[in-house]
């Protein structure tokens, strides 16, 4: 299989945007195309990742729409849906299309427009990824699954609410350094957990998870341009290689997993990606994990192998996952602060890693970052994709 490199990246600011879904996808795509210096070069294919366009925006076939809007015809085009892992699934498809030799130059753009509808409608749209007979009919939402997981994880490993809040605090502070982030504001633990007003400042969403444990509902898009390694020199950017890929699935219902605290798909996907890149977790310089809920950053950091099981919370407390720490996690601000337009997230994680590996991350730059890791958590951990990226070709 051929080596695949990333030669262009771009994204929109995440948040509440007045632009529509296609406008956001175009904005991110043009930013990536300009970053790569595509000019008039034709693309072989475009993959668009999106979860809820059909439900929330009355739009489907986004890939077909985007290539027309950007005058990229007659490029091949698809829309890829894999819940919150849609972005990584689209990158995976693009990766294999080039690695196989079928295509040379491919764009992946992920986006979501979630802010036009009331919160309970967006919550419900995301909840459609739960089991249609055994979970959705009950009113199960992603926060409720995360909350039940958190309760078991806390009981088993002693994770505290303070440690969860520290994940959010770290990510909020990182997000303040990211011009593209949705949630821009710091807080103190006393203000959200310990003072008498905390019950209003930081209400429970799904006990024990509170407002500051949950990522926002965002609009936004992100885009990457991939090409075959041998063509990389035609473009003006520092190439970043996709050195490893891994994907694994698990039971859709959380209740059917033998040990609901065991994120088997995370462990397996991460191992596959690292093995393919011939690396271990210790070799990774910077990681973008999927902190849709603060507990997930801690749990994923353990299941990927950055920390032993049960040590992830203490690691956050000790500052090991800050930008200057032993293994910086979510320097972008993560889903918690950068935001979570569902179809865009997997792509945005890779965009951030590319900026980090190129040395273009500004105030949030991890020093000498040359190996990056991303984890995109589909469903509630039943479809997980991991990438390892290396600086250079």
């Amino acid at each position: 299989m051929r080596k695949v490199v990333i030669v262009g990246v771009g994204m929109t600011k995440f948040g509440r945007r007045v632009e529509g879904l296609m406008q956001l996808l175009s904005e991110a795509s043009l930013a990536a195309m300009d970053d790569a210096g595509i000019g008039d070069k034709p693309l072989d294919a475009v993959y668009v990742s999106n979860m809820a366009g059909g439900i929330l925006n009355h739009q489907t076939a986004l890939g077909s729409s985007l290539v027309d809007r950007l005058s990229l015809l007659p490029a091949a085009a698809e829309t890829v849906e894999n819940g919150p892992a849609s972005g990584s699934s689209a990158i995976k498809n693009a990766y294999f299309s080039i690695a196989s030799g079928a295509y040379d130059l491919v764009m992946v753009t992920g986006g979501e427009k979630m802010g036009d509808v009331p919160g309970f409608v967006a919550t419900d749209a995301v909840a459609t990824m739960s089991h249609p007979e055994a979970e959705y009919p009950l009113g199960i939402t992603l926060p409720s699954l995360a909350a039940m997981f958190t309760k078991l994880y806390m009981e088993r490993y002693g994770i505290t609410s303070d440690q969860l809040a520290m994940v959010a605090l770290k990510n909020h502070l990182n997000g303040l350094k990211n011009p593209y982030s949705h949630i821009r504001g710091d807080f103190i633990l006393e203000g959200v957990l310990h003072c008498p007003e905390a019950i209003v400042n930081n209400p429970y969403i799904a006990e024990p998870l509170r407002l500051y444990d949950c990522c926002p509902v965002s609009d936004g898009a992100a885009s990457v341009i991939l090409c075959a390694e041998e063509k990389a020199k035609e473009f003006t950017t520092v190439p970043v290689t996709i050195a490893g890929f891994g994907q694994a699935t698990d039971h859709q219902t959380v209740h059917e997993r033998e040990d609901p605290t065991d994120l088997k798909a995370v462990t397996l996907a991460a191992k596959k990606a690292l093995d393919m890149a011939k690396l271990t977790p210790k070799d990774i310089d910077v990681a973008e994990l999927h902190d849709a809920f603060t507990i997930l950053e801690i749990a994923q950091s353990e299941h990927v192998g950055f920390f032993k099981k049960g040590e992830g919370g203490k690691a956050v407390e000790a500052g090991l996952t800050q930008i200057g720490g032993k293994i910086p996690i979510n320097p972008s601000g993560g889903l918690k602060s950068r935001g979570h337009p569902v179809g865009a997230t997997g792509v945005a994680q890779v965009v951030e890693l590319v900026w980090q590996l190129r040395g273009q991350a500004g105030e949030r730059q991890v020093k000498n970052a040359s190996k990056g890791f991303s984890l995109n958590f589909g469903g509630f951990g039943n479809n997980v994709i991991a990438f390892v990226l290396k600086k250079g070709a």
């Binding site: 948040g15 509440r16 945007r17 007045v18 802010g115 009331p118 919160g119 309970f120 504001g185 710091d186 807080f187 103190i188 006393e190 203000g191 959200v192 003072c195 008498p196 007003e197 019950i199 209003v200 400042n201 930081n202 500051y212 609009d219």
Partner: protein
């Protein structure tokens, strides 16, 4: 003759206890003073509210325009037993709520306007408003309505308000939901927080009310709502206001 006519034009007033000010710690440790505003402070409140009339998202324009007229009505003594609470951080106006007494027992909730978003200011001030009705004015019921879905979720659902199909709320005849004494006692511990008394220095330092830049709050609100056009219009109004003011000097 003129004095008698003015008396006839004013709604008959009930005695009203003052709202004891309190402080609330916000998410980043900053302290918001929640106190009653006076009629003398209405001009600066109107100035803060005015630009929201042009923000066409989250019902800011409707809430802003109605609140504007209610504040005018209050200062000109044309609204019965209205009160207005403000949330101030370093004297800066972060939110306004207003309400009135219908009679000794019943209150009518009017409006809640958040000027600084992202700090749960609306939740804190709405609860303070209910606290005044129930705990200090001695009332037992409040009629509440909501112009938009945010208000509906935060009040009707959070307080489990009772819908009464026989009541038209005075705000446009909208559906009215009632906060009863029982509901207040049930939800107050979770929804109404704050600390009293407020130190005299802190309370004195909350006067006079400050708007950071005449139009900045509403431009910020508009920008955060993704309303680029509204924010630009507000900035243009600011430039014109400044030019007109300079020209008239």
């Amino acid at each position: 003759m003129a004095v008698n006519l003015e008396e006839k034009l004013r709604p008959p007033e009930l005695p009203m206890a003052p709202y004891p000010p309190k402080t609330v710690m916000l998410r980043d440790g900053r302290i918001m003073v929640v106190r009653e505003a006076s009629r003398e402070e209405v001009p600066v409140l109107l100035k803060a509210v005015h630009p929201t009339l042009f923000v066409d998202s989250d019902f800011y324009d409707l809430v802003g325009s109605r609140l504007y007229s209610e504040l005018l009505g209050w200062v000109k003594h044309r609204v019965r037993n209205e009160f207005c609470l403000v949330g101030l951080v370093d004297r800066e106006l972060w939110g306004i709520v207003n309400s009135r007494m219908y009679d000794k027992n019943l209150g009518i909730s009017l409006h809640t306007l958040t000027l600084k978003r992202g700090f749960r200011v609306g939740q804190h001030l709405f609860a303070a408003k209910m606290e005044h009705h129930m705990d200090f004015l001695g009332q037992n019921e409040v009629y509440i309505t909501a112009e938009g879905p945010i208000g509906f979720r935060k009040w009707m659902i959070e307080f489990e308000l009772e819908y009464d199909p026989n009541v038209q709320h005075e705000l446009g005849g909208a559906r009215s939901f009632t906060l009863t004494r029982a509901l207040w006692e049930k939800h107050k511990p979770r929804l109404c927080v704050g600390r009293r008394p407020v130190a005299k220095e802190l309370l004195d330092a909350s006067y006079p009310i400050r708007i950071p830049d005449d139009w900045e709050i509403s431009a910020q609100v508009a920008l955060e709502s993704g309303q680029k056009r509204a924010a630009e219009e507000i900035k243009a109004m600011e430039r014109k206001f400044k030019k007109d003011t300079e020209a008239s000097v």
